[in-house]
Every structure is written in structure tokens, then in C-alpha cells.
């Protein structure tokens, strides 16, 4: 389990210098308590042919990771190292658990079907088969009621075998592809845990921030976060971040923000025109955030079209 009494910090799984969150409870905490939204990149199992609603894993922006680790809310796990090769005994235990689940489902199906008589006429056999198929379909639906959903895409690429109910005499159960590795006995993240950005950098699994621009982005992100804002990606508005006054689920963004890495970093009036214009057209203001690396401070300038001229 990722949250234990001794270590309430969230475990961020790092692979290829990106931080993933796989546990839905952790995702809930990160969003509700720490006001960080992240980005979902997984396919939702029951809505797999669209791109608006995506599911687990949640990938965090590097600035969000730095914020969480620096504030002590989370630790970084070297994920490839945490997946240790299991022993034969561990595999046997895992397999027997899977078989138990499969048997449980099959037993539910067979009790729903009832026993069939030894001798029947042709017509009666046909009618019984139809009834059995119908009951099979109903029993299969009941077995799914625990919360597992069968593969039922609404896309045209769904193979036709999913639409027809399965034949009555074949054994069929639901296979679960596990999302997170914490249910595996052989997954152990306690040995490759890093509680500071520096130690993760030294271990070679994390790089951010590595230059002035990235430090400026981290500083600006933290500054905006400390004001109580929620941040999202800004690519759709030509900025570095979108700044929301509340949870993006319910509130529109007020600003698109750009980061200027130093007070002397060159800024052309054309950029001011472009940012201001884009912001006004989309009912937002543009926020220029200047980072002073010497004083480690952020200062803000809001840009809006003047309304005249």
C-alpha cells in the first residue's frame, strides 16, 4: 500500500524521468488536498475509443513533482528497480489466487444455470439452449456487478464475439489486467525511495530543474500555487500555464501565464501584443511572471487589451 501509518507521503513512480501516479486514492489526495491536477494518459476501459476522458496513470508536470517533494508531501520511487524478479513460490501464490477468482466466477455461473435433464426431444433441446443462453447473459451481467466492467466498446472495431452471448457449455471467466503493481508480492519500493530532488538527481532518475529556465518555471509555479491557484498546461492558449481560481472541473481559467526567466530576459512588444490579444479574445488575461534568480522571487504583470486605440 502506498499510504501507511509510518509514511503518509505519496509514492510517485518515476520511469524515464517522468512521474506517474497509479493509485486512485493518491490521485484524489493530490487533487483535493494539494491542488495539483496532473494529466491523465491512460485509456478508460469502458470508453476506449475517445480522447477526451482518459484514465490512470496520471502523469505529473515536473514542476508539480518538485513542489510535492520539496514540501515533503511525496517521495520519488525508482520504478524499474522496484519491480523485482519474483521467485517461483511467489508466482505460484499469485496464480492460485487468480485461479480462485476464476473458479468463483464459474461456480456462480453454473449455479445460475441449474442442471440439465439427461434425455430431451430435439425441439425441447433447442428451446432449452435458447433459455440457457439468455440466462447465461443475465448471469454474466450479475457477475460483473462488483464493479468490474466487461469489454464493451461502442466502437465499430469491437469484434462481433463480444456482442453475442457466450455459448453455454464453454468455461469463461473475466481476466483482470492489473493497473498497479502494488498488488504484486514481489514489488518492493522501499529500497529505491528518494525523499529529495537532490538524491533523485544523484541517482540519475530525475533531472528537473537543470537550468535557469527550468528553475524559473519551478519558482513561478510555486508562486502561483501558494496564491491558491490551480495550474494546467497552457499549450492551447500559447502560454506556459493556464491559471484557474479553483478546480478546473468547475471553473474557467482566468489567466494564461508565461514565464520570463530573468528581469533582463528580452521581451518584444510584439509578444505583448500577441499575448494580450489572445487573452482578450478568450476572456482571459495574460500573466507575465518574472523570476529573479538572485532573490528567488516572482513578480507578476497582467496584460489586457486597453479597450481603446
Amino acid at each position: 500500500m502506498s499510504t501507511e501509518a509510518s509514511d503518509p507521503r505519496i509514492h510517485l513512480r518515476v520511469a524515464n524521468k517522468k512521474a506517474y501516479v497509479w493509485d486512485v486514492e493518491d490521485i484524489a489526495t493530490i487533487r483535493s488536498k494539494h491542488r495539483l491536477c496532473g494529466v491523465f494518459t491512460g485509456t478508460l476501459p469502458h470508453l476506449s475509443q475517445q480522447n477526451l476522458f482518459l484514465g490512470v496513470p496520471m502523469v505529473l508536470l515536473p514542476e508539480e513533482v518538485v513542489l510535492l517533494v520539496e514540501n515533503g508531501f511525496a517521495v520519488l520511487i525508482d520504478d524499474p528497480k522496484a519491480h523485482i524478479q519474483p521467485s517461483v513460490a511467489e508466482l505460484q501464490r499469485w496464480n492460485s489466487k487468480e485461479k480462485e477468482l476464476a473458479q468463483f466466477q464459474l461456480s456462480q455461473l453454473t449455479t445460475a444455470l441449474g442442471t440439465s435433464p439427461a434425455v430431451m426431444s430435439e425441439e425441447a433441446i433447442k428451446k432449452r439452449k435458447e433459455r440457457e443462453l439468455k440466462r447465461q447473459a443475465a448471469a454474466a451481467k450479475a457477475a460483473e456487478a462488483q464493479g468490474a466492467l466487461a469489454e464493451a466498446d461502442s466502437s465499430i472495431f469491437t469484434p462481433s464475439e463480444n456482442a453475442a452471448p457466450p455459448p453455454a457449455t464453454e468455461t469463461q471467466y473475466t481476466v483482470v489486467i492489473p493497473a498497479s503493481s502494488t498488488s504484486f508480492e514481489w514489488y518492493n519500493d522501499s529500497t529505491c525511495l528518494h525523499s529529495s530532488i537532490q538524491s533523485a538527481k544523484e541517482a540519475g532518475i530525475w533531472e528537473y530543474p537543470s537550468n535557469l529556465h527550468e528553475r524559473a518555471k519551478c519558482g513561478v509555479f510555486r508562486g502561483l500555487w501558494e496564491q491558491g491557484m490551480y495550474m494546467g498546461g497552457g499549450i492551447k492558449f500559447g502560454g506556459d500555464y493556464l491559471v484557474y481560481p479553483g478546480d478546473p472541473l468547475r471553473y474557467h481559467a482566468h489567466f494564461s501565464a508565461t514565464v520570463l526567466e530573468s528581469p533582463t530576459f528580452s521581451l518584444t512588444p510584439m509578444e505583448i501584443v500577441a499575448h494580450g490579444r489572445l487573452g482578450t479574445v478568450t476572456k482571459k488575461s495574460h500573466l507575465l511572471c518574472g523570476w529573479d534568480d538572485g532573490k528567488k522571487e516572482v513578480s507578476y504583470l497582467s496584460i489586457e487589451w486597453a479597450g481603446f486605440g
Binding site: 481560481p245 521581451l267 486597453a306
Partner: protein, 118 residues
């Protein structure tokens, strides 16, 4: 330029900041004659090498400040904050951006995080 009626008000700053002279002249005329602001004054801002224009929008009583600059210039965040400081920290400053085809646009800059209107 010297024959223009607005020259008198700008005579003390135009030769002092030759690089900013064109945009200042254009912005001053636009503010005074096109936008028709009242109570128009010129303020010398040595720290940003130009002069700013102060005035009031027609039928209002609030003094607003306009800092002219040209599209060809390069600014920076520090430059903008210096302009604010030299004008004694008003709530908002208008940046007037001029170009050589005689068009001018105004953008409102405010210090801090200022929400857009609903």
C-alpha cells in the same frame, strides 16, 4: 516635426531621447487628438530613456499613464517594472506600441495578479 503644434509641449524631451522620439510623438498626438484625453502632461522618465504621457480619459477624473514604445524595440520584465516604479507605482500603466505604418495599439499592464472582468 518642429512645425507641428504639438512640438511645443514635447520640445524638452524629444531631443533628449532621440531613439524614443518617434513613438513618443506619435503616441502623444494620438492621445491628445484621437483619444481626446484631457489634462495631458508629459513626464520625463530618465530610467527608461523616454518620456511618458499622463492624462484623463474624456469625462473621467482618473489620471492614467501611457508609456510609448516602438515595435522594433526590445523590452524586458525589469524595464516594465522600472517604468512602474518611476511613475510612483500606479495601479495600471498603458503601453502604447507604435509601428512605422502609423498604427498604434494600447495594452494595459497591471502589477500583480489582476483578474479579467467577468
Amino acid at each position: 516635426m518642429q512645425a507641428h503644434p504639438s512640438y511645443a509641449a514635447l520640445a524638452h524631451v524629444l531631443p533628449k531621447y532621440p531613439r524614443a522620439a518617434g513613438s513618443l510623438f506619435q503616441a502623444y498626438n494620438d492621445i491628445l487628438l484621437v483619444q481626446q484625453w484631457t489634462d495631458v502632461k508629459v513626464i520625463d522618465l530618465e530610467g527608461v530613456s523616454r518620456a511618458a504621457i499622463a492624462g484623463k480619459k474624456p469625462s473621467t477624473d482618473v489620471t492614467l499613464y501611457v508609456v510609448p514604445c516602438s515595435l522594433a524595440e526590445t523590452l524586458s520584465f525589469g524595464w516594465l517594472t522600472t517604468a512602474f516604479t518611476l511613475l510612483s507605482d500606479p495601479a495600471e500603466v498603458f503601453l502604447a506600441i507604435t509601428s512605422d505604418d502609423a498604427s498604434i495599439v494600447y495594452y494595459k499592464l497591471s502589477r500583480g495578479i489582476v483578474k479579467p472582468q467577468v
